[in-house]
């Protein structure tokens, strides 16, 4: 009664399944074969595969999908740092060999590639991640395999994993100072507008607590789904609420739609102050400077930041990736992360993760954004806060900065009004 060819199907399954396994099995053999010491097939210890002349380093960013918009440029700046270091003799006499992986804007893929970089490629460290979700996906993998991750993007804080170094700003180095700045400018009524994901919701929670403590007022709190493109109703709500400032944590494409439609509705920067934390030089290029002129942003670095290191950084970046390319905060943070790792390795004298972590505390480095220091206690870095205004030529002019680098405080312990926010793990 069986249909024809069934026994072939059974055999077909057995053959194809075993082929797939053998395929990936052998794939695994030739991997370890390419990396040197036979010890590498030992259980995934963190001993770096420092083979003769090169040390492997992972670069894990989204090269496809919705997040490729922001992450491709950060990958480029990290690669530039590696090329510069290799040209100058590498680290501990070894050339850095970058292994590039695509996170594909898909969080389990970030976890899968992180596991591959650590246990298969034996990468000494990994530079990568962008969205909080991708970092949260990689975190358990790095802690399980005792790997080392450098996360180059500003984020919502309230985290400090022993296996991650955060070279982007935490909330008290971007959100909190920017709100203080606005309050000093006499902006009392805040309209909180953000894309519907973790960073805006957490940032707004902090802002509401800060405003309540400092006499500000939260007029409204609005969220739009990622990829939302129609802001006419939101703009109508803004007109009705008549806030002093719109604190904007929208992300990616939504910013394009919001500012274009804001200008359509006859609202210019002079009529309504907005401060954004997800718009850098790269995004300004995508939106068009004529829609953004006069609006404020809060970062720790701008292409116009006048430090000698920044001049060379911008020049070499334009030389490498084209004259019309721009440099933004996350790109600079990624670039700085590579140098900080190099400094920590040289101080520790070895690529071993625990040694590098122990040696990292207190390391200083003259980054394009100015002097930065690694805070050994929470593995973030001291950063100078800068409020900028977008110019009609697409550059961002610095209006105010915090003077000296601000100590990172991911759990906002140093702020009394943030007491109930988090007990800290």
């Amino acid at each position: 009664m069986k249909r024809k060819g069934n026994w072939f199907k059974g055999m077909g399954l057995a053959v194809s399944v075993s082929l797939a396994l053998v395929g990936c099995g052998s794939n695994n053999e030739n991997n370890s074969a390419s990396s040197s010491a036979p010890a590498s097939s030992a259980p995934a210890s963190s001993s770096a595969a420092s083979e003769g002349g090169t040390v492997k380093v992972g670069i894990l960013h989204s090269l496809s999908g919705t997040m490729s918009i922001s992450e491709v440029t950060v990958k480029n700046s990290e690669l530039m740092a590696i090329d510069e270091i290799n040209a100058a003799g590498g680290v501990l006499g070894k050339q850095i060999e970058p292994v590039i992986e695509d996170g594909a804007s898909d969080w389990p893929t970030f976890a899968e590639k992180a596991r591959k970089l650590i246990s298969e490629d034996k990468a000494a460290t990994v530079f990568g991640g962008w969205t909080s979700a991708s970092r949260k996906a990689m975190l358990p993998v790095f802690e399980e395999l005792n790997g080392l991750l450098w996360y180059p993007v500003q984020y919502e804080g309230l985290e400090s994993s022993p296996n991650i170094f955060y070279t982007g700003a935490t909330t008290n180095q971007q959100i909190v100072p920017s709100v203080d700045y606005l309050l000093e400018q006499g902006k009392k009524k805040f309209f909180l507008l953000g894309s519907d994901y973790v960073f805006p919701r957490t940032a707004n929670k902090i802002i509401k607590a800060q405003l309540a403590a400092k006499g500000g007022e939260t007029v409204a709190e609005e969220y739009t789904p990622l990829g939302h493109t129609d802001y006419t109703t939101i703009i109508a709500k803004i007109k009705e609420a008549k806030p002093d400032v719109v604190y904007n944590t929208l992300n990616g494409d939504s910013n394009v739609a919001f500012f274009k439609q804001l200008k359509d509705a006859g609202i210019a920067a002079a009529d309504l102050t907005t401060l954004s934390v997800s718009i850098a030089e790269e995004e300004v290029k995508g939106i068009g400077a004529d829609f953004l002129a006069g609006h404020l942003v809060a970062w720790n670095y701008y292409q116009t930041t006048d430090t000698p290191e920044n001049k060379t950084f911008v020049e070499s970046f334009k030389a490498k990736y084209g004259a019309d390319s721009v440099t933004s905060d996350p790109m600079e943070a990624g670039y700085t992360a590579v140098y900080l790792w190099k400094a920590a390795v040289e101080k520790a004298g070895s690529f071993d993760v625990d040694a590098v972590k122990a040696a990292a505390g207190g390391i200083e480095f003259n980054a394009p954004e100015g002097k930065v220091t690694i805070d050994g206690e929470n593995q973030h870095i001291y950063k100078t806060v800068r409020i900028g205004e977008i110019q009609s030529d697409g550059m961002i002019k610095e209006l105010w900065n915090s003077g000296s680098p601000v100590k990172p405080d991911p759990y906002l312990k140093g702020y009394d009004w943030a007491g109930d926010l988090s007990s800290g793990s």
Binding site: T73, G227, T229, D230, T233, D264, G286
Partner: protein, 301 residues
């Protein structure tokens, strides 16, 4: 009081954008029964064509002529999307008539390919298109209520496309041939209509209109490889809700979704607004499974 007027206008403008996006689909899906999941990518093609036209005008022509680039862009985006649509129909869609579910999966693949090609040509980050100066600003009838020229332009563009499509489908000879082929392919072939050419033309027109939508959307939205994914599900919802095969269905579907979306968003927030609209659509289809203006057929299946 002005809030109500501006909200009504917002509802109308959202509906007009939904209609512009779904109009092409009303042909490819409504009339031809082809599920084209790459419809969003044709919108993207339209946007990128507008970007290229803008650069062309900026570099080659004198400054004064820049403002008229947008009209050229609309025509160019229709033609480019039309040609790519025709080529896609000849290569792929031809094999998929009568297999709706397969055409859904195959065109999803096409969408992936088009997105990646756009990403490698134009780069992952968004590109900027500055709107022509005669479209900036807005009409201020009552104080405090501004009707942006861009939205009015899109409303006008949609109206023109609608009338043009109506005249083509219901009042022109080739439109009649198209409907004949769609309703009974074998009979039309017997009557000497080259169904191959009509299929190609019909699909290409549907894609061309998606190109126009893409060009118009550069006024108010982002231009990047992924914008297609934002619109595709909404476009299908409009056509399914409105009822397949009837132009008036698509119009009413777009108006319905547009106004409800704006109203819900006003009362709650944008995320919940979108959720309520979709729940409404699912509930509505219980009552009328074939959409508002269903075409009744008597065959068994």
């Amino acid at each position: 009081m002005e809030m109500w007027i501006s909200q009504l206008f917002n509802g109308l403008s959202v509906s007009s954008i939904l209609l512009l996006i779904a109009l092409g689909l009303a042909i490819t899906f409504g009339l031809m029964g082809v599920i084209n999941m790459a419809h969003g990518e044709f919108i993207m093609i339209g946007s990128y064509t507008a970007y290229l036209t803008q650069n062309l005008f900026k570099d080659l022509l004198p400054k004064g002529a820049f403002d008229s680039y947008f009209i050229a862009a609309i025509i160019a985006s229709f033609l480019v999307a039309f040609v790519i649509g025709y080529v896609l129909e000849v290569i792929l869609i031809r094999h998929l008539y009568g297999r709706p579910l397969d055409s859904l999966l195959a065109t999803w693949g096409v969408g992936l390919v088009l997105q990646q090609i756009a990403r490698s040509i134009f780069g992952a980050p968004n590109v900027a298109v500055s709107s022509p100066s005669w479209l900036n600003g807005g009409l201020e009838l009552i104080d405090g209520v501004v009707f942006p020229y861009k939205r009015l332009f899109i409303l006008a563009l949609v109206a023109i496309c609608l009338v043009a499509m109506y005249m083509y489908i219901y009042r022109s000879a080739s439109g009649r041939r198209m409907r004949a082929v769609m309703q009974n392919r074998e009979m039309a072939a017997c009557l000497g209509i080259s169904t191959r050419r009509v299929d190609g033309m019909t699909f290409a027109i549907g894609s061309g209109i998606a190109g126009i939508a893409g060009c118009a959307l550069t006024l108010i939205g982002p231009i990047g490889p992924n914008i297609g994914t934002y619109y595709i599900v909404d476009a299908f919802m409009v056509v399914v809700l409105g009822g397949v095969g009837k132009l008036v269905g698509t119009v009413v579907g777009a108006l319905g979704i547009g106004f409800f979306n704006t109203m819900f968003e006003w009362w709650s927030n944008a995320s919940l607004g979108k959720v309520f609209v979709f729940i409404l659509i699912v509930a509505f289809l219980q009552w009328k499974p074939k959409g508002l203006f269903a075409v009744r057929t008597r065959q068994l299946d």
